[in-house]
Point group: C2
Chain length 338, copies 2
C-alpha cells in the first residue's frame, strides 16, 4: 500500500464538505483503496465483475449435504441463462458475470459464456485421500490467476468472488480450521441449512480429514491439495491475480474467505487488496475474517454463496471511492467550517 | 399489509433456485414489500429519489454545536451544485435528489432545483418557548405530504429521507426521548462529533426542553411543535405520504427516525412502509428504531445525515425485490431439489 496516496486521501477526506470522520468505515476504505492504487483519488471501482468458479467434491460421498451433486452443473446452466440470484444482483449492480468450470463433475457442453477450464471432474474424497494432487491444486490456482488477468486486462476495476459447488462448505471449513487453528466445530457451519444430525456428521467429516492429512499451514498449497476444492483454489488465484494488479477484490462468504486464507498464507500483502463484502452466517467465515483482520461491510444473514453477499456491497465500495472524486471541499463550495 | 400478497411472496421465495431462507433478511423484506404493494412480486423500488428537507433551529443559540447556522444554507447551495456526499451517493445509485427549503433561516434565492416551501425562517429556541406553533408544525408536515405526493405522482417507487439543518440532532433527541421514554442522556448523541463539554451541555439542553414543555406522546403534533424542527415535521409528512401511497420509504439516521416516531404515533400503520436504511452512530437512532421494531440494513458507522446512509441501502432494497422478478424456480430451471 502506497503511504503517500493514503496520506493524500486522509487529508482530502478532512477537507470535504462533511464533518470529519462522518462517513465511518467508508473513509478508511477509501484511504486503503488509494493506497492499493497508489493514487488519490483511486479509480472508481467500476465496472465490476463477479467470477463464479464451479467445482464438485469427492467428500459429497460422505453425505455432508442433502443436495445431489448434479445441482452444481444445473446451477452453472442457470447462471448462464441468467436465472440465479447472482444474476439478479449483478443486473441490479450493473456488473457482469464470468462463469468458470474449474472442476464440475458432470461434463458440460461448450456453451456461449462458459469459460471451460476444468482441471479435474471434481476432487477426491478427502476423508480417504488428498482431495487434489499438488499439481492439480496449482493448476486450479493458475486458472484463477489467468481469469483475474483477463478481467483486469479488459478493464474491470473490481473483482467479486463467486462460487458454486454442492458440498463446498465442507472443504472450506477444513481450510479455515487448518489456517486459523479453529476447532472443526467452530469452523463448520450448516451450509445450505442442514439438520442437526447432518451438521454433527459434517463436523466429524471435517475433523476426519484434518486428522488424516495433518495439513501444515506453512505449506499453503499442500493444505489446499489435501482438503481444499478446485473452486477454492481458483478463487485463491483470482485473489492473488487481483492483488498483483492492484485491483480490489471483494470477498463473498465462507468459500471466498477460505480461499483468502490460502492467498494470504502464500502472499500476506494480498490482504491489502481484499474487501470483505458481507458476514456469512457460516461461523467459519467469521473465524477466517478475524484471522485476516477484515471487517465485513454487510451483515444481512445471507448464506447463499455465488458471490451474492459481495455483489450487494459493490455499490457501497464504489460510493466510498466516488466521494473522493465528486465531493466539494469547504473551500471550493464556500461552506464555513466550525 | 396485504396478507395474500405476503403469502404469495413467501411461497415464491421457497421455490426459487436457492436454499430456502438463504437470503436472510432480504427475504422478509421482499415479503413485506409485497404486502405493502398488495402484489407479488411488488414493483422493483426504482427509480428512487431522496428528498432533502432543510431547516434551522432556534436552539442553536444555546451552543449545542460548533458549526455556524449559515452552514445550513451553504449546504443547500452545495446540494444544488451537486457537491455534497448525498449527491455522490445518489449518482452512484442512479437516484435523483429533491431539495426542499422548509425552514432555512437565511433567505434563499429562488434557483433551479430548489423547492421553496419555507414555513418559517428557523424554529424558536425550545428552551425558552415552543419551537413551533401547532399551525406551523402542521404546515411543515403538509409540505412533506405534498412532496411525497408529487414524487409518487411522477413515478418514484422508493422515497429516501434526507435532511440538513445545523443543530438538528438536538430536537431529534428531544423527540426521541418524548416518544420512546428514553432519558435525554440515552437519546442524545454527538451529532457532527462535539467534544465532551458540548455533549454534556447538549444533553442538558434537551432535558431542559423536555422539562419545560412536558410533551405528551399521545399528542404527536403537540410534541413536534414543542421540541421538533421544520425538517423533522416535513419528514413526518413525507413518511405519511409515502405510506398512504403504499410506496416504501427508506429511513436515514437520527433525524429520520425521530420523524418516523411522530409518523408512527399519528398513524401506526405507516410503520409498514418504513425500511431502516442504516444504523446511525447517534444512540437516539437505535432507541427509536427499537421502539419502531425496525432493524437497519447497514451499520457502517455513518453520522452524516443528508440521507447518505439510507441512499447506500437503496440497491439492497432493489436487489431484494428484484429476486422475486428475475430468479428462476427449481421447476423452470430444471434444477433438482434436495
Amino acid at each position: 500500500l502506497d503511504g503517500a496516496a493514503m496520506a493524500a486521501a486522509r487529508s482530502l477526506q478532512d477537507r470535504l464538505t462533511k464533518p470529519a470522520g462522518s462517513l465511518g468505515v467508508l473513509e478508511e476504505l477509501s484511504v486503503r483503496l488509494a493506497g492499493l492504487a497508489g493514487a488519490c483519488p483511486p479509480p472508481v471501482p467500476q465496472p465490476a465483475t463477479v467470477a463464479v468458479f464451479a467445482g464438485d467434491h469427492g467428500v459429497h460421498a460422505q453425505g455432508v449435504t442433502p443436495w445431489p451433486q448434479e445441482v452444481t452443473a444445473q446451477m452453472v446452466a442457470n447462471f448462464l441463462d441468467g436465472g440465479a440470484v447472482i444474476n439478479a444482483f449483478a443486473r441490479q449492480t450493473g456488473a457482469s458475470l464470468t462463469v468458470v468450470d474449474v472442476g464440475v463433475a458432470t461434463p458440460l457442453k461448450p456453451v456461449r459464456g462458459l469459460v471451460a477450464k476444468n482441471v479435474r471432474r471434481g476432487t477426491r474424497d478427502f476423508t480417504v485421500e488428498p482431495a487434489l494432487t499438488r499439481a492439480e491444486a496449482v493448476a486450479a490456482v493458475e486458472v484463477g490467476i489467468g481469469v483475474a488477468g483477463d478481467l483486469v486486462d479488459r478493464g474491470e476495476n473490481l473483482l467479486v468472488t463467486g462460487d458454486m459447488g454442492i458440498a463446498n462448505t465442507t472443504p472450506a471449513a477444513a481450510l479455515i480450521a487448518a489456517f486459523t487453528g479453529a476447532d472443526p466445530a467452530e469452523a463448520t457451519g450448516r451450509g445450505t441449512g442442514v439438520d442437526d444430525d447432518t451438521y454433527a456428521h459434517k463436523t466429524s467429516v471435517v475433523r476426519a480429514g484434518l486428522d488424516l492429512h495433518r495439513p501444515d499451514p506453512a505449506d499453503p498449497l499442500g493444505v489446499l491439495a489435501a482438503v481444499g476444492g478446485l473452486e477454492h483454489a481458483a478463487l485463491t488465484g483470482l485473489i492473488l491475480g487481483a492483488a498483483a494488479a492492484r485491483v480490489p477484490v471483494l470477498l463473498d462468504g465462507v468459500i471466498a474467505v477460505s480461499a483468502a486464507l490460502v492467498a494470504a498464507a502464500l502472499a500476506p500483502d494480498a490482504i491489502g487488496a481484499m474487501i470483505a463484502g458481507h458476514r456469512s452466517v457460516e461461523p467459519g467465515a467469521s473465524a477466517g475474517l478475524r484471522h485476516l483482520g477484515l471487517e465485513p461491510l454487510l451483515d444481512l444473514g445471507l448464506r447463499l454463496g455465488e458471490g451474492t453477499g459481495a455483489m450487494l456491497a459493490v455499490p457501497i465500495v464504489a460510493g466510498a471511492v466516488r466521494v473522493l472524486h465528486d465531493v466539494a471541499t469547504f473551500d471550493s463550495a464556500g461552506v464555513s467550517e466550525k
